[in-house]
């Protein structure tokens, strides 16, 4: 790794933490219902929303009601997006007169955006009307992220309460997360991005003269290019902040108008991890022990940093086969990367976007070296708990913490407890479900895909790399990332359905047990800490937590990875043909 790459990553991490500290405190205040400056400005809007919906924000819900509200709200959002796609030809704001989206693709897209996955099996400009994009997808970009924050808030509250039946009010959590966290941050980021050249306009597409005439597929001379414009910065901001990842342009943040400069690249890349990192610290504040928040954040960094190192190092290398062809190896592996960012910044983005369940890209992961491509894939497979989705990453990590406490906690000779809550059969059962379900989605989905005709039909690169593409796709969907390895022809009935199901399981198959866990934890008595309590804020526990995440992720996926990127890497570097 070059000094330049090291500096880039170092500055990134320092700035990220420096921003996460104040934001974490702010989020904790918002979720605790405390008055903030923003609340004074938008308070009337919040209260108006409650009045319109007939919700009393102080009516606390038990976990069943809370889960019910989450599921109904998400089902409603899913149906709206589905309906908009199916009926877009009858609705306004469809200047290109696009027809209705096919049912399987509409299902896949609706699930994708409701579940904060933002897997895109469609091509944005050519499939969806403006109305569908704006009312359907953009709304979901906000509320799916807010759903994640709400579920996390419920779980954090459960830890801080004792012998309580209720875990908060979903509607209040949803509205406050959207109005006071996502909206203001998006506004600030959008302005910053637009100021540095990201497109933000209502003007129609621009026609420009080409600097050098090109030749079309049928031999005609082309001198003009149509450049699609639009209100980009505002959508890109929430795409990054809400760990959504669905790009304004089809090639996402590799597009020069979506991510024009190294500065916008840094801003967008910071936005990916900002809220997930900050929420760790909010958690510490909500449970009234800040050290716990730092410990969880520490465990995330403990996994993130070595993998970042591996990915940046790997992309700094050039395949020996290409070196033999006389390519200059000093710039690293630039295939599928934007030269204005270079290999290191692309690897940093790839690691961040898959650590968080964002999935936006500024380079093509498909063209990464095998080990460089393994990093994003495996980060998704560990369950999107290293930063992960907004809210969802942290609640996933807390489930791992429960597991770590249970595994090792017995060794101190006491019923394991986390933050004073005894971890017993029910909690372990829910934790096991949370870990089992997405893994099952990845492995079973991939197995069915490679064993079936319909599945194989979508594989463009035959052989090992084709297997990696399928594995990547199911890893991305089952863990609600949305990133794609490309190469996989995913808009087919089989993949739309299979990946759609995986996204549903990966999102709601986790939210329900997590909220059940919250209900059980809230009801429990809190054991006061003493010398006999296993501390969960020490470096040893941070190490243990990181080790458990890595171990579970490795043990589950090593066989599959061995048949994909690992053997690819060995073949690329080894003596065997």
């Amino acid at each position: 790794m070059t000094a330049h790459a090291l500096l880039q990553c170092g500055v990134y991490v320092v700035v990220l933490v420096a921003l996460a500290v104040p934001l974490g405190g702010y989020c904790a205040r918002v979720l605790g219902g405390e008055a903030t400056l923003v609340q004074r400005l938008l308070g009337p809007l919040e209260r108006g929303l409650y009045r319109a919906a007939g919700v009393r924000p102080d009516d606390e819900m038990d976990w069943r009601d809370y889960t019910g509200a989450v599921l109904w709200f998400n089902l409603f959002g899913l149906l709206v997006v589905y309906g908009l796609q199916r009926l877009q030809h009858l609705l306004p704001l469809n200047p290109q007169e696009l027809g209705p989206v096919a049912p399987d693709l509409a299902f896949n897209t609706a699930v994708s955006f409701a579940s904060n996955t933002n897997w895109q099996a469609y091509g944005g400009e050519t499939t969806l009307s403006y109305l569908t994009q704006m009312v359907g997808l953009t709304t979901q970009n906000f509320v799916s992220a807010a759903t994640g924050i709400a579920v996390l808030a419920a779980l954090a509250r459960a830890f801080s309460r004792r012998r309580a039946e209720t875990i908060g009010n979903f509607w209040a959590d949803l509205v406050r997360s959207t109005l006071y966290i996502l909206l203001p941050l998006s506004l600030v980021l959008a302005v910053a991005l637009a100021a540095d050249g990201v497109v933000q306009t209502f003007a129609p597409a621009a026609e420009v003269e080409l600097m050098r005439a090109a030749t079309g597929p049928e031999g005609q001379v082309i001198t003009q290019q149509t450049i699609p414009l639009g209100p980009g910065a505002s959508q890109i901001a929430i795409k990054q902040l809400g760990t959504n990842g669905g790009g304004f342009y089809n090639i996402n943040s590799a597009h020069p108008l979506e991510n024009p400069t190294p500065l916008t690249n840094v801003l967008e890349c910071l936005a990916i991890l900002l809220i997930p990192a900050a929420l760790c610290l909010s958690f510490g504040k909500i449970v009234a022990d800040r050290r716990q928040g730092w410990a969880v954040l520490g465990a995330m960094f403990a996994i993130f940093l070595p993998l970042l190192g591996l990915c940046v190092w790997s992309e700094g290398q050039l395949a020996p086969q290409l070196v033999e062809l006389g390519v200059d190896p000093s710039a690293g592996n630039l295939e599928g990367k934007e030269v204005r960012f270079g290999a290191a910044a692309s690897a940093l983005w790839a690691t961040a976007t898959t650590a968080a369940s964002n999935g936006s890209v500024n380079a093509m992961h498909d063209s990464f070296n095998p080990l460089g491509g393994l990093v994003p894939m495996w980060l998704m497979q560990v369950g999107e708990v290293v930063f992960g989705g907004v809210g969802s990453g942290l609640y996933g990590m807390l489930v791992f913490a429960i597991l770590a406490v249970f595994l090792a906690g017995l060794m101190v000779g006491r019923t394991p407890e986390y933050l004073g809550k005894k971890i017993e059969a029910f909690e372990v059962k829910m934790a096991a479900l949370v870990i089992l379900l997405p893994s099952a989605g990845v492995l079973v989905g991939t197995a069915i895909a490679v064993a079936s005709e319909a599945g194989r039909a979508g594989i463009s690169n035959p052989g090992i790399h084709g297997f990696s593409e399928v594995l990547y796709g199911f890893s991305s969907a089952s863990n609600n990332n949305g990133s794609a390895f490309a190469g996989l022809g995913a808009n087919s009935f089989f993949y739309n359905l299979a990946l759609g199901l995986c996204m549903l399981i990966g999102r709601y198959g986790i939210i329900v047990p997590v909220l059940a866990l919250a209900g059980a934890l809230a009801r429990k008595q809190t054991v006061p800490p003493g010398p006999g309590t296993m501390p969960t804020h020490t470096p040893l526990f941070v190490f243990l937590l990181a080790a458990i995440v890595v171990l579970v992720g490795a043990l589950t996926f090593v066989p599959a990875l061995a048949l994909g990127p690992i053997v690819e890497h060995l073949q690329m570097t080894g003596a065997h043909p």
């Binding site: 090792a408 000779g413 870990i435 064993a451 090992i464 061995a562 053997v567 060995l570």
Partner: protein, 688 residues
């Protein structure tokens, strides 16, 4: 720890366990343990595959498949053997207990009178509330309370202690246990339990493990292990279609053999802890029985490990039972010999330990021989709650001893009073934590006897250990705060409750529980019953009343309140052993991947050999070595499972660091070495 009192021979237990390892193969039994059930299914599957290879075209060589199958069967058998071994001890003890119960005839009385009409009935027909007469030589037919009479009872059948104990009506020494034998005199016992619910029945069920329910932590761990097994089942099962796809795109090699997949699955699922889990639980209960404590459930033992507050009765637990006279302090102008003589006379008829200690002190320190007063005209005044004095009227002398205020009142009535120097002595003794006893003759106080609580040797160090592992000790005593404070300081407890009543005890427990603590206590009297019922871990003394025994969730057969400390350790040890072996088991998997994955795909992807860090001889020897290691490690860990990992008095953070190093890192490294060694051995002797 106490030395075991029943020690069955090892040989027969091992033989019986070896046989039971096979009978336990019954799938209806195995299915209760999901991890080992998976191994059994795998064993059957590979056995069938081996048979197929023998008679026709197999997926691999017969020798290889059969080798894997045999070692898979061993894995199951080893786990069963460990469980049977753990149960063995208990079974042997249960049998001797059963003998105590057989063919007992009872004399059922029609009313509570020794001479009432009695009918002979088998013990099994006795119901709650029946009255039975038990005379010398009889076996007591059931649990109950002595309602009349006094007798010496041999309780060795239950406690293993051969010295007889006295049981009498009234007070806290009234409970008798069915199966014990009356040695002298007679008693009338009111039966307190119906057939099948007696203490002996409970004890047999406990030691046999017949009624053993899984403890809460065990259930949680079971769920985790089942979850892990499912994850690994998915990882291994999906490898088959993956390998088919790889085969098709590569056009070389063969699909991964089912035998290898089964071997991989068995190696990955946590068989080490899955196979030893029940043995750990049974062995924990057995350790408890060995220190002569009977728990009503495994849940109670486990809760003992979680306890963070211990309520300890001062008397008997912290101090050696009773106060003893240590010094005689005469009033001004009184010779100490005169005081000693008066004190001795006043105590001659006082059979309390305090009284006896005064006599002994007078004899040993002041050279007064014990006098025989039977033929003199002595009239003994017994202690009453009303006068709170005792003493003797002898040849015109009127000697009294008692608490300062009681004697003061007595003297005032006689026209005297307590002199300032006596009052000063009383103050000094009370401040030092002792109990002052004023001795008076006529209207004059002669001096003060200093009664002192003797703190048990070594108890201070024990409490310090408990403090280090985060357990708070609270001393409970009826003494006044001053006395209590002094003893508490001497014994090194964290806090104390003076002037305790059953109500304050109950309130104390409830208060601690409301703050999230788990409380353990011991008790023997009927008035302890509410507090015992409220405590999370309640140890009743076997000498205690039936009410206390029913309220508690453990009974200490030795009636030694210090045992609570052992119980806590055993509870902790059970949890630690489970945690340690789970960590070890999961950490083991890493090495097994490095052994089996390259071997499984040696044909399709020879490049994966780069992952074979151990440089194993061949794909087949690699798989076999991993499977053999997986089986042998169970047997190697049986001693740890049965004995338990060592409990050290360290804080949780230090324990975690230590155990993670030993069982986590050790679990990571050990299989790399073990598998390599086994690979060397089997290739050298030419098995694979």
């Amino acid at each position: 720890m106490h030395s075991p009192k029943h020690k069955p021979a090892r040989g027969p237990i091992i033989r019986r366990a070896a046989i039971e390892a096979f009978t336990k193969l019954d799938p209806r039994r195995m299915v209760r343990n999901p991890v080992m059930f998976v191994v059994e299914v795998g064993s059957v599957l590979t056995t069938i595959l081996a048979a197929q290879a023998l008679v026709g075209e197999g997926e691999a060589s017969f020798g290889f498949i059969a080798g894997v199958a045999v070692w898979l069967w061993f894995t199951v058998l080893f786990a069963n053997f460990a469980e049977a071994l753990a149960e063995g001890r208990g079974k042997a003890q249960a049998e001797s207990l059963r003998k105590a119960r057989q063919h007992v005839q009872a004399r059922r009385l029609s009313e509570r009178d020794r001479h009432a009409r009695a009918e002979q009935v088998p013990a099994a027909q006795l119901r709650r509330g029946d009255l039975v007469l038990v005379i010398a030589g009889d076996t007591i037919p059931g649990d109950g309370d002595v309602v009349e009479g006094i007798a010496s009872v041999d309780e060795s059948a239950v406690t293993g202690e051969s010295a007889p104990v006295i049981r009498e009506s009234g007070g806290d020494r009234s409970a008798v246990t069915g199966g014990t034998r009356v040695l002298s005199d007679w008693i009338i016992v009111e039966i307190r339990s119906n057939p099948g619910e007696t203490f002996l029945d409970r004890m047999i069920a406990m030691v046999e493990g017949a009624k053993r329910k899984k403890t809460p932590n065990e259930i949680a761990l079971d769920i985790l292990l089942a979850g892990l097994s499912l994850v690994f089942l998915l990882a291994c099962a999906t490898l088959y279609p993956f390998s088919l796809y790889a085969l098709e795109t590569r056009g070389q090699g063969a699909p991964v053999p089912i035998t290898v997949l089964v071997a991989l699955l068995v190696c990955l699922i946590p068989t080490t802890i899955g196979g030893l889990l029940s043995a750990i639980g049974i062995a924990g209960m057995d350790r408890l029985i060995r220190v002569n404590v009977i728990a009503t459930s495994g849940r109670a033992v486990e809760a003992a490990g979680d306890v963070d507050v211990l309520l300890l009765d001062k008397t008997g637990t912290i101090t050696i039972g009773n106060r003893q006279a240590v010094e005689l302090l005469p009033a001004a102008g009184v010779k100490v010999e005169a005081l000693a003589e008066a004190a001795q006379l006043a105590s001659l008829a006082d059979e309390t330990p305090e009284g006896r200690s005064i006599v002994v002190l007078a004899k040993e320190k002041y050279g007064l021989r014990q006098r025989e007063l039977a033929n003199t005209e002595a009239r003994f005044i017994a202690f009453t709650a009303h006068t709170r004095m005792s003493g003797v009227d002898l040849a015109g002398r009127e000697i009294r001893k008692g608490a300062a205020d009681a004697i003061g009142k007595h003297l005032k009535a006689k026209g005297g009073g307590l002199s300032p120097d006596i009052q000063a002595l009383v103050q000094t003794i009370a401040k030092s934590g002792g109990t002052p006893l004023v001795v008076a003759e006529g209207s004059r106080a002669l001096g003060v006897v200093h009664l002192k609580d003797i703190v048990k040797g070594g108890i201070r160090e024990r409490f310090a250990e408990f403090r280090r592992i985060g357990i708070e000790t609270i001393m409970i005593t009826g003494d006044n705060p001053q006395t209590a404070g002094a003893i508490a300081a001497e014994a090194g407890v964290d806090s104390f409750q003076a002037e305790a009543t059953p109500e304050t005890k109950l309130a104390l427990i409830r208060g601690k529980q409301a703050a999230g603590h788990l409380v353990a206590m011991t008790g023997d009297g009927t008035n302890d019953a509410p507090a015992l019922a409220q405590a999370d871990v309640a140890v009743a003394m076997n000498t205690g009343t039936q009410a206390a025994k029913e309220a508690g969730n453990m009974v200490d057969l030795d009636s030694d309140p210090t045992k609570l400390l052992d119980i806590v350790e055993i509870g902790k040890q059970m949890l630690m052993t489970r945690g340690a072996l789970t960590t070890f088991s999961v950490a083991n998997d890493v090495a097994k991947y490095f052994a089996i994955i390259p071997a499984a795909f040696a044909g399709t992807y020879p490049d994966l050999r780069a992952l074979d860090l151990m440089r194993l001889h061949s794909p087949q020897s690699a798989v076999l070595a991993a499977v053999i290691f997986n089986a042998i490690i169970i047997i190697l860990l049986v001693p740890i499972a049965l004995r338990g990992v060592k409990v050290r008095p360290h804080p949780a953070a230090a324990l975690l660091r230590r155990n993670l190093l030993v069982f986590g890192l050790g679990g990571l490294v050990a299989p790399f070495i073990g598998i390599k060694l086994i690979d060397l051995v089997i290739t050298t002797i030419g098995v694979a």
